[in-house]
Amino acid sequence: MPDPVLRLENLRKNFGGLIVTSDVNFDVMPGELHAVIGPNGAGKTTLINQISGLVAPDGGRILFAGHDITALPAHARARLGMARSFQMSSIVPSFSALENVALAVQSRAGSSFRLFGRAAAEASLNEQAMAALADVGLAERVRAPAEQLSHGEKRALELAIAIAAGPKLLLLDEPTAGTGREETARLVALLHRLKRRFPMVLVEHDMTAVFALADRISVLLYGRVLATGRPHEVRANPQVVAAYLGDEME
């Protein structure tokens, strides 16, 4: 059995008296897409924030590609090959789509303490950024300022930023949040294409998409992992059905 890319061991987090992560054990195997589902407030985004280093856990360990990264800041985790998207699109608004992605490429391609030479004219950065933008279907919009993109395009840009540097793990926090039906379908098709290229943790509310995409699913409820398993196992789990899926899977 290969080593997992990501492993959470007894992860705990409280916000004051509120338990948002309660002894979570969780892993992602190479090539796996591990989805996290659960009702609003179950602690899904807080979990992603702890993995990516934006929120410090109160207890437990996070292992990534063989390193204990529990104490590492977000930028150091990203340097090890962790990339993420945000529920609310997190981009640099005044930069072009291309520059947003080129900046992500730049973080993995040599030193960024270069004080001279126009970064915008560096062909190697732009080519890799173009490739990522083409992957997500934004090839036509590369010069547009990111703030002028439509909501769906911003979601796609968010994904391009995440995949641009060739990450070892993708953390996707509701990539289809706020998109219409058509755009959701396009993004889900995109996730299908990305699926074998990167191991992923996917937080998502669209159950049809989750059950079609995931290799394994963990169900989070009040910060606890209620169940983990293959999609058909999770769907058949009576606890899960009672707590969450009951009304979603009509």
Binding site: A78, A83, V92, P93, R114, G117, R118, E127, V142
Partner: protein, 328 residues
């Protein structure tokens, strides 16, 4: 490569974008030729003063305009550069090859040490802590009794360059200052367009995103803080030589505030704006103080109007006027 060819060309109005700095520096370079016709030596020394403060303002624009770091202690770095000249001169060292590196190094070191703390904060706290460090430098200078304390320190003679007292010639001095401003401007333009500059510009708008793609924002911001401090130190070196005098007033918080006003007035985040703003501020001071010593009573409301109705400062106002004329 196919991908490279599929990259659509960037919209280019480079010539238009470069017209302003070219005009600005052409004007500055011709002032010593025009000076005998109008204003004489006064015009020359006034213009040199504008350029000296413009160096500090351009450096401050790196922080305020490109990083969103509102440093309220920028005058301290000017003062440190100036005091390096003054103190060395008091000990008989008036060689620029000695005092210039010292001035820049002292300012950079102060930026590094205070930056270690300042860069841990943001927003209002950053403003307050830079102000606090600035005041610390001010009071330290005021208490330097061997070097004049509150009264400041007169410098016996301008620095020599490799033993030659060329800076005593006003025209030579003017062109040295001009060269420093041009060098500083070109350096900063390259800096903000570089890989490094792209990271700090991105961090201004979205620090969380920049961190999660792998950049330690703290280190980048600390570095640019040191660069801005060092450039202000250069400005201080020139200021001490221009006035042949150093005083704690160079470091006062009012002076730091004036520098922020200069950058705001000209327009943030363009470097050109910092130079225009410095010139506009010092001209306004010169002109309005001819009417009344309370010239700030007039200048204050004018600044409010600029900030309210011309968000991009004078640069933005000019651009809007040009656009308006094209549409008309």
């Amino acid at each position: 490569m196919a991908l490279a060819t599929s990259l659509p060309p960037a919209q280019s109005h480079r010539l238009g974008a470069e017209a302003l700095p070219i005009a600005m520096f052409l004007l500055l370079v011709t002032i010593p030729i025009l000076a005998p016709l109008a204003g004489g030596g006064y015009l020359l020394s006034f213009s040199a003063r504008v350029m000296i403060f413009a160096i500090a303002a351009v450096a401050l624009d790196l922080l305020v305009g490109y990083c969103g770091l509102i440093s309220f202690g920028h005058a301290a770095f000017i003062g440190l550069g100036a005091y390096a000249v003054g103190i060395l001169s008091a000990h008989g060292i008036s060689e620029a090859l000695m005092s210039l590196p010292v001035a820049i190094a002292v300012a950079a070191l102060f930026a590094f040490l205070t930056g270690l703390v300042c860069m841990r904060t943001s927003g209002v706290y950053f403003i307050m802590i830079t102000l606090a460090f600035g005041q610390m430098a001010f009071f330290t200078a005021s208490s330097l009794a061997p070097y004049g304390g509150d009264d400041g320190l007169t410098i016996a003679t301008r620095n020599t360059i490799a033993g030659l007292s060329v800076l005593n010639n006003e025209r030579v001095f003017y062109y040295v200052v001009f060269g420093c401003l041009l060098g500083c401007y070109v350096f900063c333009r390259a800096l903000v367009a570089s890989r490094f500059g792209r990271v700090v510009r991105g961090a201004k708008e979205n620090p969380v995103r920049i961190a999660t793609i792998g950049f330690d924002v703290y280190r980048f911001q600390l570095t640019i803080y040191i660069i801005a401090g060092a450039l202000a130190g250069l400005s201080g070196f020139l200021l001490a030589n221009a006035t042949e005098f150093v005083s704690p007033a160079y470091m006062s918080w009012q002076r730091s505030g004036e520098l922020i006003v200069m950058v705001l007035l000209g327009g943030l985040g363009s470097l050109n704006g910092a130079i225009i703003g410095t010139a506009a501020y010092l001209l306004a001071e010169e002109w309005l103080s001819g009417f009344t010593e309370h010239w700030k009573v007039i200048f204050g409301p004018a600044l409010v109007l600029v900030v309210l109705f011309a968000r991009g400062g004078l640069i933005g106002l000019a651009a809007a006027l040009v656009r308006g004329r094209r549409h008309a």
